[in-house]
Amino acid sequence: MAKHPVQFRLNGSDRATFVDGAENLLNTLRRGLGDFAPKYGCGQGTCGVCTVLVDGEPHLSCLTLAVACEGRHVETASGMADGPDFHPLQAAFMDHFAAQCGFCTPGMLTAARALLAKNPNPTRDEVVEAISGNICRCTGYEPIIAAILAAAGSSGARRA
């Protein structure tokens, strides 16, 4: 089967690779480009651990065709830190112990990042709504909600 060339920006860097026509973005990111932040959970769009941003919008990368990302900007949790400096959301997740096993964390961070980019001062209900597509089986969600609200409060240094 013929491979298709695809080019997109990944966390600010131009990347190019060859993909099968039916290959999903998650597979391309993990196996093709070596970005292991988005996780493979259910593979059917219900658990949220593969969430990435495509042109700033949250997408489930397991349900997104890689070829559909041609020319677009894909952002994952790998691109959140600025060198040694954590993104305010990452710092808030640490401060609030918002991870236990950590498997849901990249998806939670990405969903929260999409929320705060659009709505810098969300209510608790808006935070709950924003992460309602992301399953966590350890924390009981409360520390995650608290971390996102805290990161929103520290908006001075926040990057989009």
Binding site: V128, E129, R137, C138, T139, G140, Y141, E142
Partner: protein
């Protein structure tokens, strides 16, 4: 339609680890030539903090900075034997094994330092910042790193320690049946406030309040985190989780873990925890461990709160709307029970 509020409570005496003795855990600790220590365990960290707690216990016992201790739980084929991460045994069993291993390793470390300083090992103390010095004479000192290098390349000495924690099997007295099944118990009490909809049978957990007595709390933030996550799992066991939650016909039930019903971020209840510390005599620094009891009292407390609200005793989990509606129907209507605690405690 009306909403009925109810309050229920439950208390737990929770045995730590497997009862009746046995239940061993082993730990091995060795120093690398750079003076950093590796703790090898076969116990697995599932996210509950096993590695962090073992690291704290090892650093404290060795007398070295915590950043100089690495905990390796990677491989149960090649690591020292352990029964596993279950029965809330991690902190207590592994922690004790780590202390035993760290004491032995510390003994060798001080002997190696004594040889370099030409003093008796009995006169040496650690400052917890990477130095070993003569008691009362801080200037007569050597770093842990220099000691490890000397042991490795000059003295030909292995700075290492072995540890095991094993509770002897408890014998049963043939006459009385008396035995000593467990050495450490943790305790908790939890109060749940719920509201029950008499038309749909749906239960909303309004809030939960609890007190946990866990022995010495070795990492307070991780204990709080574990208690909060565990309480969520308790709500999930109590009200949600089953292969066919709302449907008598399994055909209509969930087919995998994606459809398996558990509470989402919109279904959680405010939860207040108070942690009490009553150190266990045989625990590592007095620690027992929260473990499974994070979830345990939630189930009976919610069952009691439902009974208090509408007079229905559900004795099968989960307590689904269907079971509650059937109970209300069998009773000929809701039967709210007297509220305990008096009006002052009631919202």
């Amino acid at each position: 339609m009306a909403l009925y509020e109810g309050r229920g409570m439950a208390s737990v005496n929770y045995p730590i680890g497997m009862n009746l003795g046995g239940d061993p855990s082993q730990a091995l600790i060795h120093s690398n030539p750079d003076g950093k220590f590796t703790v090898a365990l076969s116990a697995i960290d599932l996210g509950q903090g096993m590695k962090q707690v073992s690291r704290q216990i090892a650093a404290e016992t060795l007398g070295v900075p915590i950043e100089d201790v690495y905990v390796d739980t990677a491989d149960s084929d090649t690591g020292p034997h352990d029964m596993g991460s279950f029965a809330s045994r991690g902190t207590h069993r592994m922690g004790n094994a780590v202390i035993a291993a760290a004491r032995e390793a510390r003994g060798v470390l001080l002997e190696a330092a004594a040889e370099e300083l030409e003093v008796s090992a009995d006169d040496l103390v650690t400052d917890g910042r990477g130095n070993i010095h003569v008691r009362g004479a801080p200037s007569r000192s050597i770093t842990v790193k220099a000691t490890a290098l000397a042991a490795q390349f000059k003295q030909g000495r292995t700075i290492a320690g072995r540890g095991i924690f094993l509770i002897p099997l408890s014998a049963v007295d043939a006459e009385t049946g008396e035995m000593n099944p467990n050495t450490a118990f943790a305790h908790a009490c939890l109060v749940a406030d719920v509201s029950v909809d008499d038309e749909t049978g749906e239960v909303t957990v309004l809030r939960m309040t609890s007190a946990y007595e866990l022995g010495r709390v070795i990492n307070p933030r991780m204990v709080e985190q574990q208690l909060a996550g565990g309480a969520w799992m308790g709500i999930s066991h109590a009200l949600y989780e089953t292969p066919e939650p709302y449907y008598p016909d399994p055909e209509h039930g969930p087919r995998d873990f994606n459809e398996y019903l558990m509470p989402g971020p919109g279904d959680i209840a405010p939860y207040h925890v108070t942690v009490l510390e009553r150190p266990a005599p045989d625990g590592p620094f007095g620690g027992k461990g929260p473990g499974e009891m994070c979830a345990n009292p939630v189930l009976p407390a919610i069952a009691n709160a439902i009974y208090n609200a509408v007079g229905v005793r559900v004795d099968e989990l989960p307590m689904t709307p269907e079971k509650i509606l059937r109970g209300i129907k069998a009773n000929g209507g809701v039967r709210p029970q007297p509220r305990r605690g008096g009006p002052a405690n009631w919202r």
